[in-house]
Amino acid sequence: MPETVMNTDPVSAASPGSQGPAAVGTDVFEPVIIAFVCNWCTYTAADLAGTSRLSYPDNVRLVRVMCTGMVDTQYVIKAFLEGADAVLVSGCHPGDCHYINGNYKARRRITLLRQILPRFGIDAARLRLTWIGASDGIEFARTMNRFVTQIKELGPCQTRLHAVI
């Protein structure tokens, strides 16, 4: 089962004994990525990846939501301000939304945030929106691997290093 993180502090939320993010200042940068995944598609895909024994980095903390259409812009903003290095919003493919059109709404909100956040130094590449269907366990693991690689290359987000809230 994918881990659903309830703790709002992404750094301390690393599960004990895992290869979780290293403390700031150590040599290896392990990013913290908050992924808001919809119950019906991407979360199910994550589940499938797990039962299929596909591995993906534990830098990604999944937050299960019923639909990407309920991911208000403030969830993403709060995640960054709390020190997340990147945020992923992932839901059903267009036309597949369990609530008919929530994913289209999410696409507009993320488009807006990708206009706003880069102005303050949060690279647009740190905020991604993807569609991963319930049967796409392989795609899920591939996306998570790729995202973690990308963010490792980008380095830590400023908000992780300093309190800017």
């Binding site: 502090d9 403030q74 696409r107 102005r119 303050f120 991604r128 790729r146 300093h162 809230i165």
Partner: protein, 397 residues
């Protein structure tokens, strides 16, 4: 149609007061909403008049702008009130009201929107200095002449009214920054537009009906025929250029000031979380704001955890969270009225940042607030095929 008012006693203010009197006397409307001095104070507020008696205190074209009347008209029209109202709104107030009607927080039914080439506004400090104990008619008239006869490329005609205000470094007008960079300081989407730019104010003032309702309203007042001032379009083009370059300069300055999160934190470092900017924001529309709920009543231990993570934690907390969330919520609908800056007790130029961000945000959706009643709010609609660049993981390895 275009009608005209003959200027009375060489006073634009008196002429417009007469116009409001006429509206009430002829029954063209049962009430008029006009900015007016309250008692003998120099400050003005939108006041709803049903009798002509108090109209001599109104200042329809003064530089005092401390309440955006858009939400006030929303209060007056959210359910049918039974009477017909004529409301006198600055262009940014009209835009705000139109945005609120899209959110079903007001209705254009039963209300005539009269808007005008904008008289601009002073910052609070400058206004206090300018108005003194109470602006007399002469001071206000001088202001009016200055605003409408200035084209941007010409020096102001006549003597400077009141203190010259502060040199902003962006423009020589001592008007508030939001006004300096305003992209539409003239009426768009009103029922009646008052055409003042380029007008010979000592002789006539022209009013143009822009909707059927507006035309019928003007016809009912039986005014003389008028025409658009000949040089108005030229003056508008001049203003557009001047305001456009003022915006470019401000935008660059703001981006330089806030290009990183720690810079943004510095920008808002004087913020005391009073949320005044939200209270006065005409388009911050939620009935209950999340920042008033217990969602942010953090557990006491949480603060220690945050302090443990970063070594320190500023209190009150969630300042940037509040401002960034507001930016996301109203980014596309910000009408650029500058009330947030006027209301900030810590003198943070909030509007500079919000105007700068909102111009970029709304461009992404090809949206202009207030331009068209039929244009839906960007975050309230979607199309099946759009913004494909938003989706995906970027370059394919």
């Amino acid at each position: 149609m275009i009608a005209s008012l003959e200027t009375r006693d060489k006073s634009v203010t008196r002429t417009l007061q007469g116009f409001f009197e006429k509206i009430l006397d002829t029954g063209a409307a049962d009430a008029v909403l006009v900015p007016s001095r309250v008692s003998d104070s120099s400050f003005v507020k939108p006041c709803l008049f049903t009798r002509t008696g108090g109209l001599s205190r109104t200042l329809p074209l003064g530089p005092g702008f401390f309440v955006n009347a858009g939400p006030m008209v929303s209060r007056l029209t959210r359910t049918p009130g039974g009477g017909r109202m004529a409301v006198w709104l600055r262009p940014c107030e009209t835009r705000a009201f139109v945005e609120l009607t899209k959110l079903r927080q007001g209705s254009r039914d039963g209300v005539i929107l009269i808007s005008m080439d904008c008289p601009m506004a002073l910052s609070r400090e400058d206004y206090e200095a300018w108005a003194g104990k109470g602006p007399d008619t002469g001071t206000v008239e001088a202001w009016i002449r200055r605003v409408y006869q200035k084209t941007g490329s010409r020096e102001p005609a006549g003597p400077e009214p009141g203190p010259p205000g502060t040199e902003s470094g962006i423009g020589k007008w001592p008007v508030s920054r939001a006004c300096q960079v305003c992209d539409t300081p003239w009426p768009v989407n009103a029922d009646v537009s008052v055409l003042l730019l380029g007008s010979d104010l000592d002789r006539t003032i022209s009013l143009r009906g822009d909707t059927e309702k507006g035309d019928a309203f003007l016809a009912g007042l039986e005014l003389d025929a008028g025409r658009e001032p000949e040089t108005r379009k030229t003056v508008m083009a001049d203003l557009e250029t001047v305001h456009g370059s003022a915006f470019q300069a401000m935008d660059a300055a703001v981006q330089e000031q806030t290009h990183a999160m720690d810079r943004l934190a510095a920008f808002f470092s004087a913020c005391i979380n009073c949320h005044n900017c939200r209270s006065v924001c005409p388009v911050c529309y939620c009935r209950e704001c999340v920042f008033n709920t217990d969602a942010l009543d953090h557990d006491p231990g949480q603060y220690l955890a945050w302090a443990g993570k970063w070594g320190q934690v500023p209190l009150p907390f969630d300042t940037l969270f509040y401002h960034l969330t507001r930016m996301a919520h109203i980014g596309c609908t910000c009408v650029g009225c500058g009330q947030c800056t006027l209301a900030c007790p810590s003198h943070i130029p909030v509007a500079d940042l919000f105007i700068s961000v909102s111009r970029a945000a709304r461009a992404a959706f090809d949206y202009v607030p207030g331009r068209d009643d039929a244009e839906p709010l960007p975050l309230s609609v979607f199309r099946e095929s759009e913004f494909s660049d938003t989706v995906g993981m970027g370059e394919v390895p």
